[in-house]
Symmetry: D3
Subunit: 337 residues, 6 copies
């Protein structure tokens, strides 16, 4: 069984239930997530072994995070303890024309973002990992974390493992002149990556590859091969999202491999919880590769999995392969009884 690990932060998600705002309500529901959490949990649900590499505080909040990760089926044995804080975000649900709102507490003070490099035995960790998942959100944190991320990636590569990198560029995290600041770090990661999650906007804004003159598919077909070639990336994959006037979303997934694109059909669906869907897409692509499925099958499954992720409470969406396949074949199903 291949051992997949993700290096990333655990966030506490504090959501106002229903459609009230923080001003109106006095209740929250909490869970724990993060890109690495979502990916390792999803892969565990597909039957792989998923472990998280992170640092959590030794506080009641840290304990609660540990327990939650265990519940998700994530292997917590590679997690360090230290520091005092957990990153948090508050979520107010939107409805129709009123967008949802996310408010972060200061992530930079979290146990993960303040951990010393010496916290992690990179060589030992690398020896336990066949596939390492990294994410652009972690890259945006601070110089210390970026170094740890790159060092771990290099150790895993040296030990014969594979690197998955999800670009996941978040403008709010990089601040002013973000693309300029981010570019060299993204380039380092892309050099190391075997599978990259990105789309044409990432190529254009972060790397300056491609232009915005044509329709998005044309842009994609132009930019992605250039990126893949420049950084010698084995496979790239990603999605196009459209938000429709009736508040449904549409997704189209793509995989690019050795000069060839495959696309899923465009899936259109109502949305219950939008957060974390990208991680579910990435997880299904990784799963498809581990199973050596044909790329068309993989991109279809990954798009269907991402669609299902929009119908699920919380950031972390857990499905079996058979649930994804059923959604792929028919998504207007009656209650199962």
């Amino acid at each position: 069984m291949p051992r997949i690990a993700a290096f990333g932060e655990v966030m506490m998600r504090l959501q106002v239930p229903g459609y009230e705002t923080l001003v109106q309500s006095n209740r929250l529901e909490y869970s724990f997530s993060g890109s690495g959490v979502n990916v390792t949990a999803a892969l565990a649900r597909y039957g792989h072994h998923g472990a998280l590499i992170t640092t959590l505080p030794e506080t009641p909040l840290g304990e609660a995070a540990f327990a939650y990760l265990r519940k998700l089926g994530v292997d917590t044995s590679l997690i360090s303890q230290g520091g005092k804080q957990l990153g948090m975000y508050f979520l107010e649900n939107g409805f129709g024309a009123r967008p949802g709102r996310v408010t972060y507490t200061d992530r930079l003070g979290s146990s993960f973002n303040t951990a010393e490099a010496s916290n992690y035995d990179m060589v030992a960790l690398a020896s336990k990992v066949d596939v390492l998942h990294l994410c652009g959100i972690t890259l945006a944190m601070n110089e210390g974390v970026r170094k740890q991320m790159k060092q771990l990636a290099m150790e895993v590569k040296s030990a014969g493992g594979k690197i998955v990198f999800d670009c996941n560029y978040r403008p709010a995290l990089w601040g002013e002149d973000g693309y300029t600041k981010a570019r060299p770090h993204y380039e380092e990661l892309l050099e190391l990556a075997d599978l990259v999650l990105m789309n044409e906007k990432d190529a254009q804004y972060i790397l300056g590859i491609g232009t915005g003159e044509y329709d998005r598919i044309t842009q994609l077909k132009q930019a992605i091969p250039e990126v893949a070639e420049r950084f010698r990336i084995g496979m790239t994959a990603g999605t196009h999202r459209e938000i429709n006037a009736d508040n449904t979303h549409s997704l189209t997934g793509y995989i690019y491999h050795q000069g060839t694109f495959v696309f899923s059909s465009k899936l259109t669906f109502p949305v219950y919880d939008r957060i974390g869907a990208g991680d579910v897409f990435a997880s299904a692509v990784i799963h498809g590769e581990l199973q050596q499925y044909p790329h068309q099958q993989t991109v279809n499954m990954a798009s269907a999995a991402a669609m299902l992720a929009h119908t699920t409470q919380g950031d972390t969406a857990l499905f079996t392969e058979s649930e994804v396949l059923r959604a792929l074949s028919d998504h207007t199903l009656d209650v199962e009884r």
Copy 2:
């Protein structure tokens, strides 16, 4: 006031609130339902007298079921006590492409399904019933219950009462070769029934009448008259359901009587709680017959009532006739104030 009774099991429904799964949540909301419960409660709300014939355990769960039935307006004076268990099902709501899930506990061990025939004084019961409602779900349980069901139907017939039989075939309950096993029992019930709820699929799969070669309406028009003639059934009624790509459902109701079909217009609507809508349709057909309404009026009302049932929390949907008529005339209403 005609006295309607139903013979059937009371189930405890344990629903995860909102859109979480049993893995994610730690809360349930419970109520008590069952085909017979839904039908007698709906008829009580239309102003008739509805009593349930069943067996409940003398436990706190049984007490809670009794109290809930009283709240619904169901006459509980014909209910026996005995046995130790109540049938239960757990419901996880679906959303969009993610279907809802129903998980049953072992129904066969319930007080109802293990009750001895001697538990019921069939002759005395029959003397208190003008219309008896029976359902294919009960028929699927076990030989003991089937015998009780048939005996009660015969006693009611002998005493001059009418029999309503809702085919309600559930593949999961009959298991492998289910149609073959079920057929003789369905045939016995159809022989006794005055009003039958069924559609062309029931005719074809259970009875082998009609084929799947044509569109569903043609199939219906071919199969139902043949069934009615073979079993000398006074009236048959039923619905066609379509699940649309935008997750709305559409329903078209029909009534067949003495060689003539009447159809409701097709109603399309969003769905809040799908379970129990068939029982609401059946109840409205029974109500229309008891009131001797024209069949076109009855089928229109029954379809509108079934539509309303999809908008109501819980299996058991309670409406007055005037609420149904208003939904029939206009289902895009502003808040009433």
Copy 3:
């Protein structure tokens, strides 16, 4: 900073959570609202000073209302205490074809509706008010309240303030022959008003101006200028609402000023909580006037604000101007993070 005040009742809103009815549930969520509350709170959120003129009981319910108003940012210093009761309404949410239901307790016994005129020092109040908001719901209550309302309007006018009157005709409150009873009182208020919220139905049914022969826009264009001229009203504004077959609503706002109509585009949107949207429209029109925005800008913003009000829990919808502008420019937004 202009001082806006509203004269009107505070109601306790008791809502069954989710989609259960009062028969099914055993829980309520409560808040406090009313036309005057909604308008002064919305204007306070836009940065103005909003005060409520009303009477509240000195009971735990009255205390809770005071605290809730403070939370909304409403100035409570002009509120009298007296009487014993608070008006209340119970709200059951509808779903699809099942309309929501509002049940009032006896409003006529409330502190506001039984307060003596001597309760209010009209001259002193008028000196603290630049814009006074009045509403047809208050006009429907009883002769005492009507007299207070008119006297306060006259004092504000004398002191150089402006009067806003929202017709808000509620058939249930006026009872039989309601239009006939209401007409003289509406005429008195329209004589005093500088800005009137109404539409062509108000003109036709209350004032007998215009006819129902043409489409609604033609009716509006015919009736509103006639009303404005007859009563020398500086500005009139209002909305057309349509309820669509897919349960979305559509709104088109208009402003009429010195012989010219401006219309917003028609906005179509899903509805979460319909109550109070008219007050949000009115508030945005008042805000636009206080800011001396062009009328086209005002009517666009007011329609977008009313749309947003449909997406918000509770009667009282609070938005900043920038939130309204964003909804105006694009109402298919992704989560903000």
Copy 4:
């Protein structure tokens, strides 16, 4: 089976959950109760037939009250419909030194308190009642209700039934000079009553019998026989309540019959919900009399039942006789499993 009926108002109880106040919370839990409701429901639970005579509005609130009464096992067939309002009270729980608070809405406008005498066919009702329960709270309402109450009592007496009267004097309802106003009405009812619930304070303050000079037991032993003799009352019963420094309560029950007092032992217990405990005591006394139990057994059971009522959520406490007997024999029990 003796038929017990109670004449009295149904109140909606709206309770803030937990220990927040109405200012702090935004949630309520509701149920329906009243002295007559509590007594008939408790007697139904003991196996008797209990019916309520009252008037409820034809509104969603009235529907909810009907359904709740049915759930309690109360026969609702003697209830009239009319009027528009339901009496309500809001309950904030106290804790330790902070007392709970009850806030009433205007009871006098309720369907029950505004119903015409012609609403009730007193002769027909009397023919269906063997024991009629009346309560001093109803007596405090208004002249119309008092007349109905007395007339019904006389008709029941004429028809051979028995009258139970619970003095239940509430100072807040009678207002200033309340005892003086109340006295003639209490005297009329005492003349009619066969079983009276009262204690020495009622005797002294309402009837001017006995003095406050001695300890409460001496007062009781002096006053009750005098009351019983003057009004020819077959049996009187009641409780002494003490509230202890550790917030436990203590109750001692008494029965006086034909010159003899019997007392229960003093029971001391923690309190969860204090409201309705007096009605549970009364119900158990009536039950004891209907079963012709020895008075010592009756007063013991009634005191134990009242103790249990303090441990139960809501006004209406439902116990079987065996549950009461077990609490009587041992009230420090482990969980039953």
Copy 5:
């Protein structure tokens, strides 16, 4: 790190929140527990490795149980899948004189109780276990489970492991003549056990050792050495519980080893959730033995842990050793901040 395993059933606990009964409420909170669950989870929290040996159904309920066990820190890798049902119990909280109530669904049909012996590879399992925990509740189930339990115990013994047996006699499970039926099975287990949890009542009623003539401590001191000698048991331990008039409980723990008794002091405390406290006592005794603590220290810690278990929501109480030690040294602590 010693590997502890428990063989036993996972139960779903469905608790009515607060102090309502199943009749009054419509909500439940659920968790998963069982003697083996409680013990392995508690030992995992003390830093040991705890695994459960059981069978769970492949249903959404089974999935939820798996996730819950993982959250508790229990190793689920030894769990089989099969069967269709999960044992369940409903819990209504008591208050004061009103005892809590537990209602079981049919445990005998559960996956665990219907699993074939071939479901478990006893030799392989035994090779992974240093300490095996068994419980008298499992022994009460049926012959199949009893055989599996004994076979597993013998294999573990053969492989050099230790057996812990908690007598946990439940009269309701053994039915009539329960002690007689149970005795031979208990004797077999006692022969195998190295550490036995029992008290003098178990000795007397199950084994017929000792008498009830003296005070409980004298009985204990007489019976336990006799049991230990007869069955060659290395260590026995247990608690005396008293339920006090003020609804507090008192516990005194004992350990008997090689002719010597040690007792904890008697701890008296208020109770929040009583279920599972015995398992927490047992876990702490096992922990003490694994750590080779002096017996006095072990019995003190185990009693303090059991006390803490009464203050914790749910059956499964998780504490670190330092939390137990702090409770032991001072149990009147202020909030920690």
Copy 6:
């Protein structure tokens, strides 16, 4: 009306409802508090004018804090906006021997603790304040905040206002050698203060005045006069808390003024929510002084108010003077109806 202001941080309190821990639950209830919040809100409830001087972020969390403060009746017009974070703490309730736990997020990064001195116009603020409340918790934050606190105190003094200083020493905030670090800052504040809240432990540990050799009352009587004299403090006040074996708490309040001590009687009571009780005591002392009540009356009221604060949900306890007086005269009250 004297204008009271407090300078201090607003904290978000996130409480696990009921008695679950953060590991067990998934829900939180939130409110906003802080020493300054509690004091100004309590004084506003007594009828004074209470304003908070602080800095809040312009985020949805900041908005929610503003709204909550308004609800409490606190004047928010002196609050600055800036920074990005709000201080937070998580609260898990204890039960009996299991202590509650408080977990802070990083307070030092909050808007209040990172605000520049230039954020506040100290002279302008001082002109609006008659009494300024300061607290030792603020003093523990960082050098910037300490300087602002002292500067504001000096400006208020210069402008003729009074300073109240509550020592409120929190060991966790000062860290190692805390008393040594804290002492010079406390001394500066004590020099400025007119009314000081402290007890003998503060005197001994922070200031090195008095010894621990005698009973606490003797210590108090020795240390407080020395402190008062050394720092020329007009009045000192405080409480002794005892936590009893039955989990009740006992409080005794004292006031020392011009050489004379007055003590309240010792109040013993059950505890619902312990946090914030010290602020309620301080508020009542300030209120007594503003009303020029005799010191005995003030200390009695302040102790009763602190007792009531323990019975109230949340940090901020709001009572009217008459509610405090009633609790003082009798704290074993029946429900008020």
